[in-house]
Amino acid sequence: MRVIVAALGDDAAAPGVVAAAAAVGRLFAAEVELVNVREDGPAAAAEAAAAAAGLTLATLPGDPYSALSAAAEREDVVALVLAADGAPKAGHRLSHITRQLITSVSKPVVVVPAGYAASGRIARVLVPLDGTPASAAALRGTVEMAAEAEVEVVLVHVLDVSNLPAFGDQVAHEVRTWSDAFIARNAPTAHGARLELRVGRPAAGIEEALQESQADLLALGWSRELTEGRAAVVSELLAAAGVPVLLTAATVSSG
């Protein structure tokens, strides 16, 4: 049985995490397991959120990072769902624990923004692709999973000075032909997916596409590094996206 582990804090973010987990669970075709890590008694907010969703809440002992890491690495666990930051008025910053976990666990991690309000099932996922084999490989599983779950896939690619196309030719045809080729190279299993193109800063372009497409989930491939100068786009999107962000680690292609 496939399992998604959703970590609830004893805070206002708990209901959002529960709702996101339920939606993502359907995408992953997985059961949802709600957990709360604490040493000193029940977490009322977390318990209430679980109860409202008709789910039980398991309490894990130990420190949150170790406990959630261990949970994520279980063989039956396919993804981890975390709040970005449960603190009141946290805005969109990541909590320390969330930062630690997203940069360390090997499984996909869904980061739920503060104040996320449940909207039911995920009907549409936005998948940015930067055109590199690593990006394509990282997100291939997500694309295939979405197809399986009958979730609409919207791909987005942001052009900047470094990768502007050479020829424009006849725009209506060229964009279509180019897009078909792009999808064939980067998301060959995304049958029927449409490709949104933007020009400019990657994060800005993706955000714009996210808003216009009204996607319920943003799927990003990344390097799992949030050190200075790395993953700037991911950082910006984690801060700005108003929908859950599914982070999947990109590995260098061996092909």
Binding site: P133, L159, V161, S162, L164, P165, A166, F167, G168, D169, Q170, V171, A172, H173, E174, V175, R176, T177, W178, D180, A181, F182, A184, R185, P188, T189, E196, L197, R198, V199, G200, G205, E208, A209, E212, G255
Partner: protein, 986 residues
């Protein structure tokens, strides 16, 4: 790959040339009945054979006595290089004979006599024993014991001759031959061919190198490369220090052939020659093996020459679809993408028929036809596949190691007929269906299972496909042979004879080897008239040949040819027809295959009605050809699209890019200039030219000063829309009006109207300003002086994305050659000497945001003598599809860019273009090129133009007017005329 446990070993050769005496027969009195049967079978199995011998044809023919009646040819190359005969069912046909002049004959006699005399001076008795055609034979050992030695005793003969020579202080056979060479020179034969078979010395005007040269040339014209040929002889190795007589078959291109000696070869054989020995019996076994290979269906070979092949190894999902485009099989009517026959997830197979559109309006697109190129192979455990496209023969070979070997072609001799042959494991082949309906067929497809006949309905008819397939066991494997036929039929076909079934039946009746031979011959004939040879840049050479292959396959040569932007190699651009066809592809076709150019123009002729209606609809006279055209000729340009910034943009080209009207007229004139097709010129061509001129005349707006303007258009530079007096549009319109005047008399069009065209032409503003600079459109010079060459990180680049649409519109950023396109197409319409100034001004401002642009610039830089920039632009053009520069080759090859590559080389670097009754030739050869050579057909004359750093040679088969380097018109005669190449450019 050879299926397991085949009864014979390969490889299969496509032609075999063999020596007669000592190789095919032990001597001239031997019984050749077994050989006769083998040769007859070889012809029926499609194997080309040639006998090469020093004797005369009657000797061979009486002994062999065969009259082949199959697809394989038999030639006799006799009299030591002086004659060529073909053996038909009716008998011998003389193909070629070298005839000595009386002076040469006398010189041969004198040379032989002198040789004998000089040998006698050394005390050696020798005799002139034979006066054959173009040679004299001297017997070095005229002793009864050696009267007629068998070849098997060659080593003994050699020893006896050398001993005899040594007795008279002649240092071996080499010295004797040297003596004879000197005698020949002294007798006035500067280039005598002196050979020896140990017993004789022959002094002649020809030798076996002439036979070889003729034979390999002939095979090349049959689509067979030297490496596909087997040479068999008994004297391939040295004899007495001299090259063996059969070794002369391996000089020049013959060096790439496979060679086997069945002789004794006392001096060994050269590297690369396999020594089998065994004499005629071994030759017979070799021939039997070749026939056996054909009977079991062994795979025909393809060329191994990198200059003529595109080889793709392995699987690379990211680039697979672009590769499929480049590997497409094209025959002018049908295109089949070069997909793996055992497709993987990255494959995008497609079969497209020219002009077979589905849908309407801007949704019209080429209908995906049933696929004939699929096999149910199990490739998971096989090694990485290899695909080789033999450009010269139009063959695609696919190898799946351990699983299957596949050969495909789409017959250029029978457009619409395709053949697939596969050798491999039996069960997968038995499971393979001849036809597969593509997933995106999206149309009503009916299948007649008994006849394996599919029909795909179209708005204006149908595509019909018939197929036949056999799978026969071959040892532990199987041979699959599939023949398919595609036709387009009318909505209600009047008779079944027009359908796919009769086309298929005709192909099946011809037989697999005949289909292959005629297909190879058809491609070879196209290359004979359309190849471009560049020595000094192998990478460019291969790129040029890939482009030429696709150009040759882009258009049928009868009926009409709808040449879409991506030809028949992919779904990109939906098969819609743009000016790409008229001003880019037609010139190549007109100069190399006029019938195909005529078909491309027929496409326009048949849409004249729609064009007249379109003009009326916008209140104009004449014909307004659509910017983007498909089945009906009405405009199918999309009205809106999303650009790459994600913005929905209005597409105005359909409504405002009107220069297409003049482009069509220009294509007519180009075709007539090359072909002198008076019937077209006076008939439909004139009609097109007149109606397009009428359009322009009605399109003009006159100002108070009596000048005429064309306002609110889009020129080739599509970054600037709704401009006034676009130079390209206005000058082409002016040319159109003047040309229409020149092509008509008052018998065709009333003089008053004709006169109005001239007046309009004279009044049209053209943007010419001081210094010879043409203003691209009114107000261009006042725009922000953006020089994209200084701003952009690289070119080509989509500048509208780099700088934003607004800045580009308000700046002097040019998408592609616009003013410069005039210098390329109608230089006579422009101020003399204005090319340099306009190149210097506009090229740095050109982003080359269109794949049509770099090739034009290459041509212009070459004409202007700027070799560095010309070669840079040429190299870029050559790599557009090979490197998938646009990241969109997956949708099909850029056929107009490929045409611009030919134009750059021929019209630019060679400076060749027709002008009235003369052909202009003004070469500018880059220092890195040793030779540039290409054929053209000018007013029916077949010309071959060869340009080297020192000279330019023009070979013609009839009198032709040529104007070389602006030195004035000259009538050149039949044969070769040489000019001194102008000095090398900077």
């Amino acid at each position: 790959m050879t299926p397991p446990a085949m009864a014979v070993d390969g490889p299969r050769y496509e032609a075999l040339i063999f020596d007669w005496d000592g190789t095919a027969v032990p001597d001239r009195s031997a019984d050749a009945s077994h050989l006769r049967a083998l040769v007859a079978d070889a012809s029926r199995l499609g194997l080309d054979l040639a006998v090469v011998t020093g004797t005369h044809v009657e000797n061979v023919d009486e002994q062999l006595a065969v009259r082949p009646d199959g697809a394989g040819e038999l030639h006799m190359l006799v009299n030591r290089g002086s004659e060529v005969f073909r053996v038909d069912p009716q008998g011998l046909v003389l193909i070629e004979r070298r005839t000595a002049s009386p002076q040469e004959d006398a010189a041969l006699d004198a040379a032989a006599a002198l040789t004998v005399e000089r040998l006698a001076q050394q005390g050696l008795e020798a005799r002139v024993v034979s006066q054959r055609l173009n040679r004299r034979k001297i017997d070095l050992i005229p002793e009864p014991a050696w009267a007629d030695p068998p070849k098997a005793r060659i080593d003994e003969l050699l020893a006896a001759v050398e001993a005899r020579l040594a007795e008279h202080h002649i240092q071996g056979l080499v010295a004797a031959v040297t003596l004879a060479e000197q005698a020949a020179a002294d007798a006035g034969l500067a280039h005598a061919r002196v050979t020896s078979d140990a017993k004789h010395i022959e002094i002649g005007l020809t030798d076996k190198t002439d036979s070889a040269r003729w034979w390999f040339d002939h095979l090349w014209r049959r689509g067979i490369a030297p490496e596909q040929v087997l040479v068999v002889g008994d004297e391939l190795g040295p004899l007495g220090g001299l090259p063996g007589s059969d070794s002369m078959l391996l000089v020049g291109v013959g060096a790439r052939a496979a060679a086997v000696s069945v002789g004794v070869e006392p001096g060994g054989v050269p590297p690369g020659v396999t020594l089998r020995g065994g004499g005629p019996a071994e030759f017979a076994r070799l021939l039997e093996r070749q026939l056996a290979l054909r009977r079991v269906g062994a795979m025909p070979s393809v060329s191994a020459d990198a200059r003529w092949t595109l080889t793709i190894d392995g699987n690379d999902a990211a680039h697979e679809q672009a590769r499929e485009s480049m590997l497409s099989l094209v025959d002018g009517r049908m295109g089949t993408r070069g997909s793996l026959v055992a497709p993987n997830g990255a494959s995008s197979p497609a079969v497209l028929l020219a002009g077979a559109y589905r849908g309407e309006g801007e949704e019209s697109a080429l209908q995906p036809a049933p696929l004939w190129n699929r096999l149910s192979l199990r490739t998971r455990d096989s090694g990485p596949p290899t695909r080789v496209l033999d450009l010269h023969a139009g063959l695609l070979r696919q190898t799946f190691p351990g699983e299957a070997d596949v050969l495909q072609f789409s017959s250029l001799a029978r457009p619409g007929v395709a053949v697939l042959r596969a050798l491999g494991r039996r069960q997968p082949l038995e499971r393979s269906s001849a036809l597969v309906v593509p997933a995106d067929a999206g149309a009503e497809v009916s299948l007649d299972p008994e006849r394996t006949l599919m029909r795909v309905e179209l708005p204006d008819g149908a595509v019909e496909v018939a197929a036949t397939q056999t799978v026969e066991r071959r040892g532990e494997g199987a041979l699959l042979e599939r023949i398919v036929a595609y036709t387009r039929t009318a909505a209600q076909p009047a008779d079944e004879a027009a359908g796919a079934a009769p086309l298929l039946a005709s192909a099946v009746a011809a037989g697999r080897e005949a289909l292959l031979i005629e297909h190879r011959c058809a491609w070879a004939a196209r290359w004979e008239r359309g190849d471009v040879r560049i020595e000094g840049d192998p990478g460019l050479q291969r790129a040029v040949r890939l482009a030429l292959y696709h150009l040759m396959g882009s258009a049928a040569d009868s009926g009409e040819a709808a040449i879409g932007a991506r030809s028949l190699t992919g779904p990109g651009y939906r098969g819609h027809v743009f000016w790409d066809a008229d001003v880019f592809v037609v010139p190549f076709l007109a100069a190399t295959h006029p019938a195909a150019a005529r078909a491309a123009l027929e496409y326009r002729v048949r849409r004249l009605g729609a064009s007249l209606e379109a003009a009326r609809a916008c209140g104009r006279a004449g014909a307004r050809f659509a910017w983007e055209s498909a089945a009906t000729g009405f405009d199918v340009t999309p009205k809106v699209a999303r650009d790459r910034a994600g913005h929905e943009v209005e597409i105005l080209t359909g409504e405002h890019e009107e220069h297409i009207v003049a482009d069509v007229a220009w294509a007519c004139a180009c075709y007539v200039d090359w072909s002198a097709d008076e019937e077209f010129r006076r008939g439909p061509g004139r009609r097109l030219v007149v109606e397009t001129a009428r359009y322009w005349a009605s399109r003009l707006e006159w100002d108070d000063d009596g000048r005429a303007h064309i306002r609110g258009v889009i020129g080739p530079d599509e970054y600037h829309e709704m401009v006034d007096d676009n130079a390209y549009t206005n000058v082409m319109a002016r040319w159109n009006l003047r040309h229409a005047f020149g092509e008509t008399t008052d018998a065709d069009v009333e003089n008053a109207e004709r006169a109005s065209w001239l007046a309009a032409a004279d009044a049209l503003v053209d943007g010419l300003s001081a210094g010879g600079l043409y203003e691209e459109f009114a107000g261009f010079f006042e725009l922000e002086p953006v020089v994209i060459a200084e701003l952009a990180p690289r070119r080509p680049i989509a500048a509208d994305l780099l700088l934003g649409r607004e800045r580009v519109e308000q700046g002097q950023v040019v998408k592609q050659a616009d003013v410069l396109m005039l210098h390329h197409l109608v230089p006579e319409e422009l101020a003399a000497g204005s090319l340099s100034a306009n190149l210097a001004y506009y090229e740095p401002r050109t982003a080359h945001g269109s794949s049509l642009s770099p090739g034009v610039h290459a041509a212009l830089f070459a004409r202007d003598g700027n070799m560095r920039q010309a070669l840079e632009a040429l190299a870029l053009t050559a790599r557009i599809d090979l490197d998938d520069i646009s990241d969109s080759t997956a949708g099909g090859v850029h056929i107009a860019a490929m045409a611009s590559l030919w134009q750059a080389v021929v019209m630019g670097f060679a400076g060749v273009r027709p002008r009235g009754s003369e052909l202009l030739l003004d070469p500018h050869l880059p220092g890195s090129w040793d030779v540039l050579e290409f054929p053209v057909i000018f007013k029916g004359a077949m010309l071959t133009i060869t340009i080297t750093p020192d000279e330019t040679r023009v070979r013609s088969d009839r009198s032709t007017r040529v104007n070389f380097a602006g030195r004035g018109s000259t009538e050149i005669g039949v044969g070769e005329t040489t000019f001194a190449t102008p000095g090398a450019a900077r």
